[in-house]
């Protein structure tokens, strides 16, 4: 009778299987405190010992099988997102995937390929182009859509384009409203989409943390934060009347770290803007802005500096701050992200004005 061996093996099993020692104790000795007692020098009859050892061996074998079937946190998130996408494909008449070319969109696109494999995702991609995106984003977008074999709809607000709306001439708020928010609403109305996937995460911002995965929008694309539909389990109410729609967020429960880790693990393509490189930038109100093309008006005496910079989020280049960084590989980026003390949206000029700004924008139809 080797009681010490029994205890050690039980402890090992607890460690590898994630069960508590008392659970194992209950399973093999019919007594949650039994193992602790043995550890403290307690004794058992030979018969009890043999039964316990037999039960432990069974548990060990079971744990071996289960270990091969263990789901990691990322695998769970992946399965959840796939479930959400399939639900939309099955229930909604005319869905679309909003593709903003950023890292979250890249993950979303990858998940869509997985969800419907071997079929192609049964919906098009749509990009609302503000005409001020980083030029690399546009090249990247066109290439990826072709590789994946999905239709790509690009929408530019025609009135905004005609009026030459831009962040410098009209200010960031007007530019974002006309080219992004109004542009998006136009595009959704034009194609009569009843569901649009977006890559937003709940950890991004405090009003997003409150939003449902299937987020209802009325005829005017408004989000009514105080009156959201209950959303229990993974049963999603996808029903809308004509003109109303759903914004669907399959990445709701992902954190920024999850996204980066998943990109790394799955080798997902992302624009190289996320990795550091010497790039020409100017400093405006403490924010580093990339000189992406010659539309960026330089102040008198201002000359672009070459700096090692990368971006934590991608949007309109004049509205997206770069961070100085030496991180030229993905793990280095993740490392920096984990060591940093500011949140990712800080680089985005648009959020930092009023406290409720994102909520207001969403009420007005912003994604």
């Amino acid at each position: 009778m080797d009681i010490k061996d029994l205890v050690t093996r039980a402890e090992q099993l607890a460690e590898t299987s994630g069960q508590s020692l008392s659970t194992i104790s209950r399973k093999i000795l019919n007594d949650g405190k039994g193992l602790t007692r043995l550890k403290d020098g307690g004794q058992v009859t030979l018969k009890t010992y043999e039964n316990a050892m037999g039960a432990l061996k069974k548990l060990e074998a079971e744990a071996d099988v289960n270990a091969s079937l263990n789901l990691t946190h990322l695998q769970r998130l992946e399965a959840e997102a796939i479930h959400i996408m399939r639900e939309v494909a099955a229930e909604c008449e005319n869905p679309v995937m909003l593709y903003s070319v950023g890292k979250d969109s890249s993950v979303m696109l990858h998940l869509a390929e997985k969800a419907f494999y071997p079929s192609r995702p049964p919906f098009p991609l749509m990009h609302v182009d503000t005409m001020w995106k980083f030029s690399e984003m546009i090249t990247f977008r066109n290439r990826r859509a072709k590789e994946v074999g999905m239709d790509l709809i690009v929408h530019i607000n025609p009135e905004g384009k005609a009026d030459n709306v831009g962040p410098f001439s009209h200010g960031s708020a007007v530019h974002t409203d006309i080219m992004k928010t109004q542009g998006l609403k136009q595009a959704l109305d034009k194609h009569r989409f009843d569901a649009a996937f977006g890559g937003a995460r709940r950890d991004e911002e405090k009003s997003r943390a409150k939003e449902r995965i299937f987020s209802f929008r009325n005829e005017n694309h408004r989000w009514d934060a105080k009156n959201q539909r209950p959303e229990l389990w993974n049963i999603y109410n996808t029903r809308v009347q004509k003109g109303q729609s759903m914004r669907v967020f399959p990445l709701s429960n992902w954190t920024e770290l999850d996204i980066w880790q998943y990109i790394y693990k799955e080798k997902i393509q992302i624009p190289s803007l996320y990795l550091s490189k010497k790039r020409p930038v100017v400093e405006r109100d403490g924010v580093l802005i990339l000189v992406d093309d010659d539309r960026l008006p330089l102040n008198p005496g201002e000359t672009p500096m070459e700096k090692m910079v990368r971006f934590r989020t991608l949007g309109c280049y004049p509205l997206t701050g770069a961070v100085e960084s030496e991180a030229t590989t993905l793990p280095e980026v993740i490392q920096e992200m984990l060591l940093t003390t500011t949140s990712e949206r800080q680089g985005r000029v648009i959020d930092s004005d009023a406290g409720a700004s994102m909520e207001q924008k969403k009420a007005e139809g912003y994604f």
Partner: protein, 636 residues
């Protein structure tokens, strides 16, 4: 900083590996208004160093503007993210936040305490494995505490922390703690929780949140974070029966037909024998397809695509099971329902219910009782109002595959959708089937008379009232219809008033016209029966031949002739409408009984003798006949 964190700088790859192998827990905070739920989450995030500098700066600014703690940082603002919440200092909707420790990753849902927003609390609770129920130690167990505990238990949460909060305000008095613990355990003893852990706490100051409290040195148990790291949720017991609710049929081309879905429970291997519910068709698993390659086996929570050896008809809404333990199917259930909208639930009204993968029309046929959240007592009620919980019988328009919620949280649940507004108006948990759907192989779900009738929980039938003018046909027919309506049945009455003025306004009272009149009524009635309705017709219909024609138009058992037998003398004596007098005076021609004959029915299913019986008794007799002969039960 925890020890893993030092790995970030030293060996980022090793750190990422460690992240991947962390276990995972979803939990909620709940409890009555202002008991400190949001503050607690704020404190957890703050103490686990998960607040970025810019976020903290924003909170500090907001605390001055709308905080409830004077100059101190109001940690609740970290979670109360909506403008209205900050203005009112309350939580309105559930916030999802994420944090992790060396051991575990957590998703926490901070739910609102206000009764008005109970449905948002239920939203958060439905995906949680553990609940932290907060109690303000100055107020003890409140109605809302009980309601939340009950809802948590109803939704299947097994692990509960009772966080007795604001202990700083009572000097960490152990007696206060003990009294509340006693009360709560007494209330919760029948709620089916696996374990209840009571912790004295100050969410505001951080006592027993992420570190043991010195001020509560009499308390020996774990602090909250330790509990959360250690609680053994055993969420995936892979030995449970295999269930794959088919979500989407994957058909990229003619050679591939796969069934995609997320495995609700159990394990499946290539080669396993499977059965499809409700069709009952069987086959074997040919392959388990994923983007990352084919698998030999797959487990609960994986989103996969199965292909089968045989070409069998499977669609969204079906559940693929292993033949060793298939799930049940039925179209009548008992269920617990939580009602979530101001418009009350009325039995008999048609809703849509959506299960894991299927949407079907359904009605709540009966509310057995409402559960009083205060003492869990049962009260008979006619309706359920906002936030009320009842045990009901429901009837679905088509059979659905299911498991009792107790056995499976993913195949025993449903939401209730209002057909007009599309709102989610309630949610339910199936207890058991009241009657199994009889025909297991019923696949032909084209809308048919049977399906329409099953949806109405009745057998369609034509009740053909015949008898002299003034015999009481319409009076009795109306009473029968009212009674059926009270029983939640679906009816329509065709009578002289609604037929003669429209459909038949081209017909007079000659023999030919009378025959044509009856023919049209019989045909229209047949359509109504086909629509699934109990159809009442009330016409003199004096000729046997026409009544026979009407009978022959209907399917077997769908025609009930009711002879309202009132002798001519009696009818004439009553002469409610003064018609007999006019006929006798020659003012009306072809009046049945006077100058046109009435052929008495020879074998009517029901004869009513109005001389000996009141109209009410007559109606009772007819409804009793329908009940006894099974017309008021669903078909399937």
């Amino acid at each position: 900083m925890s020890h893993l964190d030092s790995l970030i700088a030293e060996d980022i790859i090793a750190y990422l590996d460690a992240q991947e192998n962390k276990s995972f827990l979803r939990f909620i905070t709940c409890g009555s208004v202002d008991d400190g739920k949001s503050t607690l989450i704020g404190r957890l995030l703050y103490d686990s160093k998960l607040i970025y500098e810019d976020q903290l700066a924003a909170i500090e600014k907001d605390s001055k503007k709308s905080g409830t703690q004077g100059d101190k940082v109001d940690l609740a603002l970290l979670v109360d993210g909506l403008a209205a919440e900050r203005e009112q200092g309350i939580t309105i909707d559930v916030a999802y936040r994420f944090f992790s420790t060396d051991k575990r990753k957590f998703i926490v849902a901070d739910t609102p305490g206000h009764e008005q927003y109970t449905r948002n609390m239920a939203t958060g609770a439905s995906t949680a494995d553990a609940a932290i129920l907060l109690i303000d130690c100055r107020h003890g167990v409140q109605v809302q505490t009980r309601r939340h505990a009950f809802i948590a238990s109803l939704l299947g949460i097994k692990h509960v922390v009772c966080a007795i909060n604001k202990m700083d305000l009572v000097d960490f008095d152990q007696k206060v703690f003990n009294d509340i613990e006693y009360d709560f355990r007494d209330f919760a003893k029948d709620l089916g929780f696996n374990d209840i852990t009571c912790i004295p706490m100050s969410a505001l100051d951080g006592d027993n949140v992420t570190r043991a409290s010195e001020r509560a040195n009499w308390y020996r148990g774990p602090h909250l974070l330790k509990y959360l790291e250690d609680v053994d949720v055993d969420s995936a017991d892979l030995e449970r029966p295999f269930r794959l609710p088919v979500q989407w049929v994957n058909r990229p081309n003619l050679d591939f037909r796969g069934f995609s879905g997320t495995i609700a429970s159990g394990i499946i291997n290539v080669g396993d024998e499977v059965m499809v519910v409700p069709s009952g068709k069987r086959s074997k698993v040919k392959s388990i397809v994923t983007y990352d390659g084919e698998l030999d086996r797959a487990r609960e929570d994986m989103a996969i695509t199965l292909t089968l050896k045989d070409e069998i008809d499977i669609s969204r809404g079906d559940i693929i099971c292993r033949t060793d333990s298939p799930c049940e199917q039925a179209d009548q259930f008992q269920a617990h329902i939580l009602w979530m909208t101001e418009k009350e639930l009325f039995p008999g009204r048609q809703y849509l219910i959506k299960t894991a993968n299927k949407t079907v029309p359904a009605s709540i046929t009966n509310i057995k009782y409402r559960v009083d959240v205060n003492d869990l007592s049962e009260t008979a009620v006619k309706t359920l109002g906002l936030n009320e919980i009842g045990v009901c019988t429901i009837n679905t328009g088509a059979p659905i595959a299911f498991d009792p919620y107790q056995d499976n949280r993913k195949t025993g649940n449903f939401i209730i959708i209002d057909r007009a507004s599309n709102e989610t108006v309630g949610v339910g948990m199936l207890d058991f089937a009241l009657r199994r759907a009889k025909n297991v192989h019923w696949q032909d779900l084209d809308v048919s008379k049977q399906i329409r009738a099953a949806q109405k929980n009745q057998k369609p039938v034509m009740l053909w009232f015949t008898g002299l003018s003034g015999s009481g046909k319409s009076t009795i027919a109306n009473l029968v219809e009212k009674r059926l309506l009270d029983l939640g049945r679906h009816t329509y009455t065709l009578d002289g008033d609604n037929v003669r003025h429209g459909l038949n306004n081209d017909l007079g009272f000659t023999k030919a016209d009378r025959i044509e009149n009856i023919r049209r009524i019989a045909e229209v009635g047949k359509l109504m029966v086909d629509a699934g309705l109990i159809t009442l017709t009330s016409f003199i219909s004096p000729y046997s031949a026409e009544r026979l024609m009407a009978r022959e138009l209907q399917d077997d058992g769908e025609f009930i002739e009711i002879y309202v037998n009132t002798p001519l003398e009696v009818a004439e004596q009553r002469d409610v409408k003064g018609l007999y007098a006019k006929a006798r005076a020659g003012l009306i021609k072809n009046f049945t009984g006077i100058d046109s004959e009435y052929q008495e029915p020879e074998n009517p299913e029901i004869t009513i003798n109005t001389v000996h019986m009141s109209a009410d008794e007559a109606a009772e007799q007819i409804v009793a006949y329908l009940t006894e002969n099974g017309y008021l039960e669903g078909t399937s």
